[in-house]
Subunit: 381 residues, 4 copies
């Protein structure tokens, strides 16, 4: 049994989900590496200390450099805001640590490219936490695609709808709301929500080659939580784009935080000549599948698969058929695959290079929206 | 092209649905008999006249005997309250008319037996309007059962839930509310709602042999619409029963008018060793089907069949795939089958003898509820 | 009681739905004009004759000019392929007839403009059959918008998905498949499907001002049903666009005939600051409504309205709560409103001028797809 | 911070779910008692050792008596088969330990009564793991009932449907399949599934006073896993009953392992004069709520509440709105409440006395099925 000594940078929402995954890994997956919660790091010492106490980290740091350089850390996990991803990841790679990074990889394509270069030069294990690939229903979707059940693809449509920023009284910036501050986040829903959908889309349907996009900032100015001043809003509140995939199918993407009634509605649908697939994160235990060949006309229909059987991806590790797992297990599944990769030497996806492709699409979306024209993504899968 | 001259007794809700079927038959079904709306009959002359004018009946009667005896009438259709079904049907049969009767066949088993005897002695075509057999999705369910797709049946559960009599201020009796008056209706939800579910159940799953039931009258007295006096309520507001089917499966039945939020929720589910079926009248365009044999474990699920294709029962007569028909078409489909029976000589079900079996179950349900014990139905299919 | 003498041009799918509406109008709506089926017209005399016999048209014509000029015709209804809409409508208007025209109004904006000019110059009643406005659930959606329940709108997304042309063996052209022949149809899914969605969108959410679109023809050549030769396919198999609405909200539109598993999935969703609405034609009895203000947080959710009550648009004309009507009733509801307009003098929408706005958006979509850039629609509502 | 030293008896499915709860409690709930995994006990030493290693128990025992008597154990948790519940619980109580017991409390009412007597005489904290009370959606249902939103109740219907024993080739007995062995389990679906539904029902709708039931054993004999011989099956494969509640409403209950297509479908619906509630365990993130008073007729409908907000029970402890938790969290929520009870001195339900009431209903169901008559439950809430 080897120890995998974790240095966690950040103690927010993602700090919790990742830590939960480390703590539970060995309870559910028969892996030979056991995560050890070595250090938790955050700028606010009091909060970092409370976080470490709750979850059981051995020590607390307030300067991420001390984590990156510590000899007793094997793996640096970056759960801090987007504006420090690049700097920490590059330093981590240089220090020879494994580097895991919460998505999106970076604020900009430029930052992301430097991160890829750093981990590849250092030859360290690395991964971006696009956790939704490991929703069992999405992993099953991938399996059905790989089994040839969808056939030639024609359409891919997906969205990610939330409603939490409709009120103009929500401030921007600060620890809680850095996602609304363009300096910390790099972009709005494009990096926060669309990036997830792009990663899943390219996982299931291959490279996105061209896009035409429209973004919108519905609330033009908000109070900044740190300065107390009303300042212009720099992020995109909504982002929509039409995509061309390399395989000839057409994509339709939408993300917004202004869709009243949706809290985390992430849906996707893929239509091919032989079959179709449909998923909705708000009821993530289901995958809908329409099978065409060989099904008599009078019994054709969308099949609602309750993805909770031992035959389904990851589900043999949990309970019994019919009983659902939750959002947090997607991180656990992701970590399990990463650690198995350490054992087998296989490079588990999405690594930084893979996440860079998603970054390219995000960048193309933002540019297309700015310039009002079709833009090539340059994705290289 | 032969004429089928119709004498309609009653001008209420069912008078409308049946008349609509007669008027539209030839537009949708290639039949050689064309219904002619010869006479409409009702006790309230003014209302009968308005009804006849709207729908185009050639003449109006206020005494049903004049319809039954008229030489220019081929078919008597009974849409009057339950308390006159037997008398009219027997007279119609004696006069040599075809007799169609809205369900339930009668208030009591005794009445129903006399009706069966009358039509069989007279040798006239006869049918009870258990229209839900001809919901395309239910006809498809029957087809799937007949194809052997369900296998050995274990369970059948069904209900019919409404909420329109919750208020104690709803009066009983009179033209509009005779269904609440035990003298006119014979029973409450047992004859009105359960009878439908029993007919569908025996159509799909065979004879019901024994029942144990519980009925309830939640509102004990109501103003009578005719007398203006508060009188005891004689009907059952709710009726529940456990059933044994001849094939060894168990049934669970429930009907009520006190299920807040349901207007006409009629559901059924059949579980067999090889597959299961599920239906809900409020979204009657769907049949859900779970197929077990030959389906790989990772893609098993309930298939939601949108029953609107030409491959589906009756649907080749209507529009194009994906476009739904409505409640009223169940009457049209029923009539089309009846008329085809006239052409081919085949006895179309449910005839009076078939409807008598449902009456036996209703009677057993009411007796079981009264006596608090299991009761044999005596059903003879 | 006035007669409304109908001359029907075309006997296909739409000829049937419109005729059904004329025949049933007086059964369900208390109108003072009674449609009379005066003449049915089609190029194929045998088929026209069979159509007329089934539905009861008084006479048959094979030259539409004879219908348009007949003194015993009050209203010309155009259900022929798109390539003859303009010619017939203009002639009808000149002859002083009321003109109803199946959608889309025409193949091109130019044709449509001439049609508008003709009916306005002649001062004749006119309407385009965008029947989905009169789905009770969509009419209810409009009512909720008008009641202010949605508030400031942010997003509108809609699609119309079919799968019937995936096989390259489906031929193009001829009586049955003129929708695949660009000469007869003018466009593919843009005029056939998107036009419906555009009309509904502008009905609910106001003018579309700018679009960026992408169309695709997945199957590049098909056998032509008339010539027997393999010929290039000129229509768009799929069309997607991003839209700007005049009210500041963003739209996302998609139509295709290559979405395996969907036969006539027409959905829409509108998100506003105060509430959201969602509809799906395949289960057209429902409208989903999310209400925000005044609802305590712990009971907020999407409300599934079963649009079958007397309180709902049009539903007081049909059966009882809980019982659904079908696709065909949307035409009946539309006709009822048109005829009431004749009685009251009110101009019922969508008239030709209104339908012209939809045509402008279609034209902008096709141009944007061709030119790969944003295009102004010029819609003038 | 106090330690809560746990002795776990059993290492099967329930051993895992409970242990998971103990391990995670402090990560999610701010409690002052911290569970310590002191001892795991099982008859098969090898399996017990593997279980302890995976989950981190400090030591292993193979004789439960050694756990019960150990001075370093505060709490005995019984996850062994039903036939040893009573003996262990009674010994645990006598030894002054807190006793938690997996449901059903016992095989028979007699055993259960002795257990209640033992814990009450000893004055030790005790609870039965009816975990479904702490599904957030069910806890929310209870809250809505308590807020008076349902009004006078009329109907309660519930079922628990599985399909895993349809094949006659499934053996009975042994470690894995003791639930099919009447000697180990006491009953079949009555104790295993119905007990859950009865507990939830009485939690939401009060005492069940009378029942009439029907049970069935579809497969009459199975190979016994231990003896290798084909032996008669003693358990009930299916159990259905009609219930009277003390509040005047009627209940309908069904449980089976022969409902093809259902793995763990546990549904409930409650209809009252003012509103209705509906729940389905297979999509446990939702609660459906129909609100009647004060809602205008045209927008009435079932509201689908996605129970993932901080306003919802327990959900403030987990992630962010829209993100679901899973089955296992119901145990965590239950444990959190139990431990809070230790802190506050409040007796958390369902304690053994409360679970005894469910046992009474189970016993009445089995007796009613045996004797074919209505039976009083004697429930005393």
């Amino acid at each position: 049994m080897k120890e995998l000594r974790v240095g966690m940078i950040g103690y927010g929402f993602m700090g919790r989900t990742h830590t939960n995954a480390y703590k539970r890994l060995a309870d559910f997956f028969p892996v030979s590496w056991r995560p050890a919660l070595q250090a938790a790091c955050g700028r606010n010492e009091e909060k970092a200390r409370a976080f470490a106490r709750t979850w059981g980290y051995a020590r607390v740091e307030t300067d991420w450099r001390r984590v990156v350089e510590a000899p007793d850390i094997d793996l640096v996990d970056i759960c801090a805001p987007n504006d420090v991803h690049a700097e920490i990841a590059i330093a981590g790679a240089r220090a020879g640590k494994m580097v895991l990074c919460e998505k999106p990889l970076a604020r900009t394509l430029g930052e992301a490219e430097q991160m890829v270069e750093a981990v590849e030069r250092a030859g360290v294990a690395n991964m971006a936490w696009y956790n939704y690939r490991r929703v069992p229903a999405i992993a099953l979707a991938k399996q059905l695609v790989d089994e040839g059940r969808i056939g030639k693809p024609f359409h891919y449509r997906t969205n990610f709808l939330q409603d939490w920023t409709i009120s103009p009284d929500v401030p921007q910036g600060g620890a809680a709301l850095w996602r609304l501050d363009v300096h910390a986040a790099g972009s709005g829903v494009t990096g926060d929500l669309l990036a997830h959908n792009i990663d899943t889309a390219m996982y299931l349907n291959g490279a996105i080659t061209r896009v035409v996009a429209r973004t919108e900032t519905f609330v033009k100015e908000r109070v900044h939580a740190l300065t107390g001043r009303t300042e212009p809003v720099g992020i995109d509140d909504a982002a929509l784009f039409i995509a061309e995939f390399a395989n000839g199918s057409l994509g339709l993407f939408e993300a917004t935080r202004y869709a009243r009634g949706h809290k985390a509605l992430k849906t996707l649908e893929l239509n091919g000549a032989e079959g179709s697939l449909r998923f909705n994160l708000e009821e993530m235990e289901y995958l809908d599948y329409f099978e065409y060949p060989g099904v008599p006309g009078h019994v054709r229909g969308w099949r609602r698969i309750h993805v909770t059987n031992a035959e389904h991806p990851y589900m043999d590790r949990y309970w019994v058929p019919g009983l659902v797992i939750g959002y947090e297990h997607t991180f656990l599944n992701t970590l399990a695959d990463f650690v198995r990769g350490l054992e087998t030497g296989e490079r588990v996806q999405p690594d930084f290079r893979c996440a860079l492709q998603t970054q390219k699409v995000c960048e193309a979306v933002l540019r297309s929206a700015r310039e009002g024209r079709w833009v090539e993504t340059g994705v290289d899968l």
